[in-house]
Point group: D2
Chain length 390, copies 4
């Protein structure tokens, strides 16, 4: 019999639903060292939290996340709240000896992220593990992209172009939800989705952004105050309020291996819903990915004869592809939530193996430092700004 | 508190895993009239069935499917076995007052399917429901295609071209698994995947195939006997044995509304993994779908100005798309198993509403009659063969 | 100095414009054995033919095609008229010692085609060459497809699926032009565009269709009579008249090498403008082509590791691709008329080399026999009909 | 009878071949105010120029471009030489009363471009016309994109992302051709292909780049000296020499209407041959174009119901599309050289109408100023650099 490992989750909105589905599913598809138990979910409202527990399959509901830290049947704390609460919860949970899985971005400021990374380092010395939830690393196609780069299939990398394109606030009547408020969200498109493409680009290339030149813009500067509702609300009322985060962020930069990179994160790319796109060009080949077709990786092998050159559409659903063998036969694609299943699987395996899972809080801090460099460059006439060494 | 409804599943191989994930997930995403309980799974081997129960999340394991019929805590029997056992299990379950969800094809012969449809009709009079699991109807994009046709967006339908292309037995060394044996599988590509495109074409168009002209072929006539293993094995040993089913089936036909249709089902379409493709052309517009990009429906609206004509790639992930609103934000795609979640949801709702779910056993019989007409035409020099009226 | 070779063209409508552009351009891009001279164009109306000569760049205008045969400065007769006049013109031209390039389909009946093939054979013995203008063989991507098959890259061919999809007569108010009249056009979609996919399928595979099972349909049975106008008119007036050709033809068949094939030619595939599509699946790889993206060939190589499997989009614009090196740098695509340039180039080279160009009139007769078998099968309840041996 | 207008062309390499095909073809497809006559081509080598004249269809060959200015039968001078000679030839030709069509980039420096624009302005007052050959404006799909923006279909433009991706110098053994030498080419990818995406972005949006932040890079710093050959040679010999231009240029910027834009021009995007790509996102819709599929424009209309949202693939081959009606039926695509045919057609029409054709030398100067701002920003730590007002 495998040991049971208990999970306590904080927050039950969009991310909480996603993580719940991961914890619920992972054991049926992977051979895990632990049997995961969905012990308790924590939220502020007793009634709403109880409803969420029933709906999402958690055995208990708590109205204070600190209660999770006190429970002996909880070994993992899974943080699915907005970024302004990450540091407090994560540091306390690690101090209480709980392994921590924390949603991204790791924090709203570099200072918070530094404190979290320090706490994670100290906890790791005690065998307590932590991981930041950059789930897109666990798209099979993205993991395969990483494998191709690691195997040298791309040669020397010259270009990365990454975009994260959404359009959900194109309508100026869309309300002033928490994600549009700097005190809650830290930043706008930059931290919410720009963080993902920074992490994905560094993950696939195995290189680091050394400096950036950036611009940001807020296209719609005032929005209607939102009526409170789960997950999105600004705690509003009537009238309008100022949007205090960026709607879009563009930046170009250099990677540690000599490549040039361009990034764009926006919520105003009309017609694009969740287009996390990344292309990598190397001296021997190229890769292209778009999350809107998440089961595909496009690969160009430049070492074969030019009469056969061409980007090929690899359906990343074969048994010898990352994660894919655990699921369905070839050609039977996966969906968004599977990335979270893979995340929980890797996290559990690292805990069992006594190794530090990736991406670590240190990796989350890295991304935070890039975000800070972007904001600084944008504030200083786009001048090239070195990313602080982590 | 909602009433609990207990499920008993027969078979735990590929289809059993898929259905299990559906039963496990459906309650977290849809507002259901019942709380589904995964009561028991039945299989022949005590040890393997117990392992499957633990892995897939079933509370009990039974070594005889008849035990499920005796259990008071089971109200639904979910049949995930090969086609040769469907009739016996389904008829007995319906007689025992259990609602039945049965994998496709409904049966291996028209006679069995007729008996099942008769049993289903009789059971329906007693309030006992049945449904055949043509899961591809529940791909959001396919359901949207049906909606567009129903709304008249395509006008008069002139053409359907449907293909189901796989390549998993291209290698002549692939063993003689049960799906390649007529006594187990009924037919080859025809019944396994051809059945899906027949149902999908009739579902989307709302029309029926009235007659067909067909050819079938077995490209590799002898294969190595398989070593026994779960789900695939032929009970073999050493040596080779004859492939007794079709490797590919092609047919053209006419639909009740006057359209021409072509169909192709093959396991020798090298490079295609699970390409269930269907295109529909009408006087006012057209649709195109490929399961390998299952979150997309391509739609051409011919009523707008020709300067703007063009197939558009609709990402079927919007709140106003079928099923999609229950899941993730736009652009966050679903995967293969979600079609089964939708199936169980619709089945539970129909049971609660006291209505007959679709596709019914009668619909399954329809498809069986088309399959029979295809085989008859192929055997008689491809002559046009009328599909028997159901 | 190269010798001059004089061209005389019959007909100056759509095909005449296309061929004129080919004769005008070919010498600037290819190293030809002759310098082609656009000597004369023949048509019935003196005024219209003179205008066409001026517009299309022909030195002289003739009002009787027989005058071209009498001219000493004409060595090639290029036939761009409707199919009902091909036999008479071609046979007379060959008898007069003129090389003949004849538009497809070769003729409107098998009998005419047989007479033409016989005349071509007799002429070839005298060093007089003939060629039927299946221009799609000269799309670089199609020629590359043929090369891949010849080189064995696809292995044993199992499947061909070919479609030629247009939508230009979806509107029932579209008039009764000559292409919709059996006496002028021979057949409808079948002979006009079906002929192309038959030739393309046989060309790429190097195999012959041995038999077919077919259906045809005329969706719109009466159309407005057309007011006379160049190229399309029915010699009409007011009122409506019967459409006497097929709107669509579907057939399945067998190739001499054992492959199954399906074909569809239709002018009612709403949203498709000129989609000549063909896919070929073999034991070692697959190919896919769509003329609407004519500079691309999709190739799947099944001999590499499955982790890298996938159809690749080969841009057929490289120097080592057929024809492409004569034009522009890689990635600078060609258009429709370039296929005709390649045709004239190959024709001139064959004349100079004293070899018989392909596709020959015999090849044109072949296609005619397949068309006849399709019509016969459609008339006889779709029964499998052997293609008469040529 | 229409008046004849005589053309004299300078240079006969890649661009000269392209322009020759345009002058040869334009009269057969468009109703022109003049009958164009290909009078003379000028080059330095008597023998090579004579060969080019024969091959490309020019009546005379001149070994000094100044001779073209003296010819009475030449009314248009078409400049197809490298950028370092544009200013001298164009200014002299305009002074001689010849209309001038000049390849892009207009010049190698802002100072030269200013002198040319001044000369053009002065000439225009005398009825002498000039035009810079940004041919991609004349891709039908690009012209349609412009039309959609003009008609307000995109609403307020928020984003432009433009890339021009090639890979022809990825191999470090590719020789040091003139395009890699600053004194001949002015700059590298920036001026050669970056110029095109700047012009295309400003053309489609109708807005101007107001400032940029940039990076450039030369990945391969030494290359083998080239053996002299037409069009590419560096006048070399043995050994290697320094690459003195950029291999790649990235920049982000702001448009006069408030949009953010990103640009990337590179010759190291392995697998991309001639991918001029541009996407435009507006409040009401979006557009996407890739020259590698030049007959397609992807259009998203955000004003229709979200259930039908999606980028549609408009085949820009309809009679009501820009330029397309003059060619072939719908679905019969055009190729690279057609853009030059359209260019000559528009140029001739403007001359006849007595209006100034676009893009003007002033437009060419504009692009030159953007290029200068890019180089300045790249040299000054990527700081935001205002584009000098023209």
């Amino acid at each position: 019999m495998r040991p049971v490992i208990g999970i306590g989750m904080v927050g039950y909105a969009f991310m909480g639903r996603t993580h719940s589905q991961a914890w619920r599913s992972v054991d049926a598809f992977f051979d895990l060292p632990f049997k995961p138990a969905m012990v308790a979910v924590a939220g502020r409202s007793a009634e709403a939290t109880a409803q969420a527990a029933e709906k999402l399959g958690w055995a208990h509901a708590e109205t204070d996340w600190k209660r999770l830290l006190e429970r002996d049947d909880v070994q993992i704390v899974d943080i699915c709240t907005p970024g302004d609460s990450h540091a407090e919860i994560a540091i306390a949970a690690l101090a209480a000896g709980k392994h921590v899985l924390c949603e991204k971005p790791l924090a709203n400021t570099v200072a918070e992220a530094e404190a979290m990374a320090a706490a994670a380092k100290e906890a790791a010395a005690r065998g307590v593990r932590s991981m930041v939830a950059f789930n897109y690393r666990r798209v099979p196609a993205v993991a395969l992209a990483r494998r191709f780069v690691e195997e040298g299939r791309l040669g020397e990398i010259r270009h990365v172009r990454a975009q994260y394109l959404q359009d959900w606030i194109v309508d100026p009547e869309f309300p002033l939800v928490w994600r549009l408020q700097k005190d809650k969200a830290g930043s706008g498109a930059l931290g919410d989705i720009g963080a993902h493409i920074i992490d994905t680009a560094e993950f696939i290339t195995g290189q680091r952004l050394t400096g950036v030149s950036a611009m940001t813009e807020t296209f719609v500067k005032e929005r209607p105050l939102a009526v409170s509702s789960a997950g999105l609300s600004a705690g509003g009322g009537a009238g309008t309020g100022p949007v205090t985060v960026d709607d879009a962020a563009l930046f170009i930069g250099r990677l540690s291996g000599g490549a040039l990179a361009s990034f764009e994160a926006t919520r105003f790319a009309t017609g694009h819903k969740n287009a996390l796109r990344i292309e990598v060009n190397g001296s021997l080949g190229s890769l292209s990915f778009d999350f809107e077709a998440m089961n595909e990786l496009w690969f160009h092998d430049h070492t074969i004869g030019s009469a056969e050159h061409g980007f090929r559409r690899v359906q990343v659903t074969e048994p010898d592809h990352p994660y894919a063998g655990a699921w369905w036969p070839p050609g039977h694609g996966l969906g968004y939530e599977h990335t979270f299943v893979h995340e929980t699987k890797d996290f559990l395996e690292a805990i069992a193996a006594g190794t530090d899972p990736v991406p670590s809080f240190e990796d989350g801090l890295r991304v935070q430092r890039v975000l800070a460099a972007v904001e600084q460059s944008a504030a200083e006439g786009s001048r090239f700004t070195t990313v602080e060494d982590s």
